[in-house]
Symmetry: C2
Subunit: 309 residues, 2 copies
């Protein structure tokens, strides 16, 4: 029998379901529309049907557990709590709903924590006891690992480094406060930097702009685009130096499409990071791209929750 964990990545648009073995190989993958289900119980029922069908036709495989990464997923109580980008309002007892269909362990956490555990189980943090995973995307998420354990905190909501304030009174953030790291280093933060820099020169963006398009412009030598990534790296380096002063990690991993900008982001990021670090931490902490950068990353992260149990 082959042991398989079901990894489920709940996103605002799609929910991806994958069957993953302990080596991180994804044997099957499919997805359903998240907002297509008004009722979370019906949503879970449909996923349960998909999982059960897989094991009916793959009789040499054995379901050992279900791992779920979801926005505002709380590890302690197994619920999604007040996720702004999901249709289901309030507290959704996701783990409880799955337990109505399965007898195996079901584990839920937020997407950034799932990415961190994925990094530890399948990625570049194998064997590391102290590291931080930063997810750059629509938001800036983070998962903090101390002594080989995920930091969940008292309420299950630890690791919101994206909402540490780097500039008091600075840019307005989606959370309603000002100056959060996320307001500068998320996808929309990067676009805002680019537009602000253009406006300073009396110019305007033509058409829709994205961090990816800005990185392509930078590769062609566009100075505004290069300055955009320099500024992003500068602020991210400042924010991460403050995180080091908390948990003193061995490494920090950058996860998500924005990290694909490579040296364009990593060079100014590393320079800024070392500049802002307290002396005792300098020249000993690696900033690295995630080792689970391929398409299955979110699924692997979710599935890894099962193997890490």
């Amino acid at each position: 029998m082959k042991n398989i964990a079901a990894g489920i990545d709940v996103g605002g648009t799609n929910t991806v379901i994958g069957m993953v073995d302990s080596d991180g190989k994804c044997w099957y993958k499919t997805s359903i529309s998240t907002p297509g289900y008004d009722d979370a119980a019906v949503f879970v029922h449909e996923i349960a049907r998909i999982i059960k069908e897989y094991f009916l036709s793959n009789t040499t495989s054995n379901l050992v557990g279900i791992g779920i990464g979801a926005p505002n997923g709380n590890y302690y109580n197994g619920s999604i709590e007040f996720a702004p980008n999901l249709k289901w309002k309030g507290v959704v007892p996701l783990v409880g709903l799955f337990r109505q269909h399965f007898d195996v362990p079901v584990v839920l956490t937020n997407d950034a924590n799932a990415a961190a555990i994925g990094e530890m189980v399948y990625g570049n943090a194998k064997g590391m006891k102290n590291f931080i995973e930063i997810t750059l995307g629509t938001g800036v998420g983070s998962g903090i690992v101390v002594d080989a354990n995920m930091v969940y905190g008292h309420d299950g909501f630890a690791g919101e480094i994206g909402h540490a304030i780097v500039f008091p009174g600075g840019r307005v953030c989606g959370c309603g406060r000002s100056g959060c790291l996320e307001a500068y280093c998320s996808a929309s933060g990067i676009v805002k930097t680019y537009n602000d820099l253009l406006a300073r020169d009396g110019k305007k963006t033509e058409g829709e702009i994205t961090p990816y398009k800005i990185s392509k412009l930078a590769e062609k030598g566009d100075k505004t685009a290069i300055s955009t990534y320099e500024y992003t790296g500068e602020i991210l380096g400042l924010g991460l130096s403050n995180s080091v002063a908390h948990t003193s990690p061995e490494a920090i991993f950058i996860f998500g499409g924005i990290a694909n900008a490579g040296e364009l982001l990593f060079k100014p990021l590393k320079e800024s990071f070392e500049k802002y670090l307290l002396q005792v931490y300098r020249n000993k902490i690696s900033i690295l791209p995630s080792g689970i950068m391929e398409n299955d990353a979110a699924i692997l992260g979710a599935a890894s929750l099962v193997w890490k149990q």
Copy 2:
């Protein structure tokens, strides 16, 4: 036989040695001059003599371990590393030196971590799994506890919240960088705020000023003194809200003489803290004075290292 831990608090001026039982009762206390010893080995030899003499004349007591709190004390390797306020330069293998005299466990950490463990063993954090201890004094130190364990980090130097940057490009800090929390909330930071506020009104301090004197002036209604504590609380609340975004603690304890200012500090601190907190953390984290505020605090913290082992 009564089990006793020797608690040693190494300070820049004095080193205090105390004999503490598991209930936190200090049976004997004495001190020696730290800078009176050019050689750390001779310093340890003298402390060893004091400890041995105590147990020779207290034959119903039994030494179970030695706990040491020292500036820049590293838990992992048992050394004091590059402590700016001590005479001994470079790396001093303090635990190794003690082991030449004793067969019992010897544990070293920095003073703020010792205070945090003291809070957990003897103070207000009994039974708490996730909390942060902030020490306000010459510097701003911190000890972070996650899941009932001290966070030491990869290199043993985790928990330098005093050197998280709250205002990029702000006040110059003793560490050589700018805008650290410590530059605003340490004793000298508070004095600087007071002097800056006076200067703004075209006035000057008469005689030597301290946070204690400023708190006494505030009690008498001195507006500059009140504003000084309001500003200190505002900045500390901002800094601590960022720490919450890392480890999401149940409570934060404020340790050290400056906390004796009471509501003068705690009222603006709590208001600022709640204002800067991310929504999900609001109205559920207590900010409290330390429960080990008496004279023996540092000794208890050091001794608690033994009981926590």
